[in-house]
């Protein structure tokens, strides 16, 4: 009898969680993610910036006034996540003070910190009003060489100079808006048509973003160490660090013959100046100045205005991890007209081994969990669930992560969510025979059973 009741309740429970699983795919024609492709954050802990950049771009695409032919936007991904991460740090430090917490995982916001760990919400606040922070074209900093494209957008960048991104952005943007008569049309809107061709800087940075940032950070550390030496001469130290960095770049990826020598020299001088200018700054200021230099000529403001992000907390510790409510909220967001992806903060373990997550997703002792199970969670997931770290490092297979949900479909075992990750287009990283899990070889996007995924989501961020 009990078994019969459970058989009846089971399907009803699923229906309650998501009554409608009609197909939604935001990569489709005239959808906000049309023509976009997965990006790769590499070894940098900047998932939050990759997620926020994609959300902001999707918002701009889906709210153009007047609408632009979507086919003209195929393959265009303007916002570069790493400069966004750097700018957001500066912005948040300025708005909350250097001693305030900028990072909910490490609890630090020191000026010497790098860019690892952060919040999607902060990046969106930096880009949106009233701050209206400048975004940078991804292809300018880390993009393809010999890329050119046509589309209408308002250019803010003609007057940008190194250090602009470190200035109070409300002043900069207000000035630029006034000068250029902004106010309608957005970054793809009614401005002049621009055609970007290859520039020296674009060639130099192609294909090296992850390792390049690592080397920038290392060079900054060396720079500081040199400055603390008794005989340090700031200009000479900057020259040496710049040279060291530039030469080491030749070891990365491409043979030296692939790097035009003049570009090495030109970039060397730029870096030398930035190092010298940073003598009284800090790591974040240095990165910000570097990206301001690299983005020069390719900065813009995301528009139409990004709304204030809606953040919903589902952490176990707040007793809000109600799986049915979580699924309903995500589905409601997916179904909105002109829908844009939903950001999720979750345990990335689910992408590697869902069965491990299912075991670990049982409620933690002392926490009011509504998704069933018994009280025995693994240490790994406890740390992920609570957003805690051990000696500043997360456990290897329970990483707090951010990604996008941009669709759903009916799968063999129920509804599945379409996840856009930022680990590149690499299906080989996943077990191909996992139930409730599909990786699309052509895109690297992942379909995940929605109940499995919901077990490990602890925050969502929406634009609506």
């Amino acid at each position: 009898m009990i078994g019969v009741i459970l058989l009846l309740i089971g399907p009803l429970g699923s229906l309650t969680a998501s009554a409608d699983c009609s197909t939604i795919d935001m990569r489709g024609a005239n959808q906000s993610m049309q023509g976009t492709q997965p990006m790769c954050q590499g070894a940098q802990g900047t998932c939050y910036a990759y997620t926020a950049a994609a959300m902001a771009d999707a918002w701009a695409r889906s709210h153009l006034t007047p609408p632009v032919n979507q086919s003209a936007l195929d393959g265009i991904r303007p916002t570069s996540p790493t400069p966004l991460a750097a700018s957001t740090r500066i912005f948040k430090r300025a708005s909350r003070g250097a001693t305030q917490s900028c990072n909910n995982m490490t609890g630090t916001c020191g000026p010497g910190d790098g860019l690892d760990g952060g919040n999607v919400e902060d990046c969106l606040k930096y880009l949106g009003p009233p701050n209206n922070g400048a975004a940078c074209d991804h292809r300018q900093v880390f993009g393809e060489s010999e890329v050119s494209y046509d589309f209408n957008r308002v250019q803010l960048d003609a007057d940008y100079h190194p250090g602009d991104l470190a200035q109070p952005m409300d002043q900069v943007i207000t000035e630029r808006r006034t000068r250029r008569g902004l106010g309608s049309g957005g970054n793809f809107g009614t401005g002049r048509t621009s055609r970007f061709a290859t520039r020296d800087g674009e060639v130099f940075f192609a294909g090296r973003d992850s390792d390049y940032l690592t080397r920038l950070n290392a060079a900054w550390d060396s720079y500081l160490a040199q400055l603390h030496a008794p005989t340090a001469n700031e200009a000479e130290v900057a020259r040496l660090m710049s040279r060291q960095l530039t030469c080491s770049l030749q070891e990365v990826g491409l043979p030296a013959a692939q790097i035009p020598g003049s570009l090495v020299d030109n970039t060397n001088e730029v870096l030398r100046r930035i190092f010298a200018d940073s003598a009284h700054g800090n790591r974040q200021d240095f990165l910000n100045r570097y990206f301001a230099q690299a983005c020069q000529g390719h900065t813009y403001r995301i528009a139409p205005d990004i709304p204030k992000p809606t953040v919903t907390d589902y952490r176990l510790s707040t007793h809000k991890h109600d799986q049915a409510a979580l699924l309903q909220a995500i589905n409601t967001s997916l179904e909105r007209p002109r829908g844009t992806p939903v950001s999720i903060s979750f345990c990335s373990t689910v992408l590697k081994n869902p069965s491990r997550v299912a075991l670990a997703s049982r409620p933690l002792p002392g926490h009011g969990v509504t998704n069933g199970g018994t009280a025995s969670a693994s240490d790994d997931l406890t740390m992920c669930r609570e957003g805690e770290t051990h000696n500043g490092m997360e456990t290897p297979d329970a990483s707090d992560h951010a990604a996008l949900i941009m669709g759903r479909k009916q799968g063999p075992n129920g509804c599945m969510f379409l996840v856009r990750n930022s680990w590149g287009q690499s299906c080989e990283r996943y077990l191909s025979d996992q139930q409730g899990f599909e990786c699309e070889p052509a895109t690297g996007d992942i379909w995940v059973d929605q109940n499995t995924l919901a077990n490990v989501i602890y925050e969502t961020v929406e634009l609506r």
Partner: protein, 138 residues
């Protein structure tokens, strides 16, 4: 001091950690990536969850290079992950395989991470991620 459960599990996994072997009959699919201006012909062995640069395949058909050897050097149990959801394969590249991370462009316009070695060979960070977990026993 007694070892923790996670340390014990790691030691146990090491005992059963078989070296990665590529069978002679493995089917490799050609792929091409773009690293900067350089086209990088690559090979994909689906069953082995492996994407490596094409020069790893020798004239006699065997597959050997620094990139392939790195598969046995990575283990998810030993990774020190920074906050912020980094690609575990990229972290394994730096910390364990001692390579350098580069980001390539796929033929469809997306990005893909690779680990580059001194002999010029490359392996995808996705491959390293998979095998780091396999070598750790989960």
């Amino acid at each position: 001091m007694k070892p923790s459960n996670s340390v014990r599990a790691g030691l146990l996994a090491q005992l059963f950690w078989a070296a990665f072997v590529i069978p002679p009959g493995a089917h490799w699919e050609p792929r091409t990536y773009q690293v900067g201006k350089l086209a990088v012909p690559s090979l994909y062995w689906k069953e082995g969850h492996l994407v490596v640069s094409a020069e790893c395949r020798r004239p006699d058909g065997s597959v050997s290079c620094e990139a392939v050897k790195a598969v046995d050097r990575v283990n998810a149990k030993g990774l020190k992950m920074p906050p912020g959801g980094a690609d575990p394969g990229a972290i394994a590249c730096i910390q364990q395989a001692h390579g350098q991370v580069v980001v390539a462009r796929t033929q469809t316009g997306g990005e893909a991470g690779f680990c580059a070695f001194e002999d010029g060979s490359l392996i995808s960070t996705g491959s390293l991620d998979f095998h780091a977990h396999r070598n750790a026993g989960f």
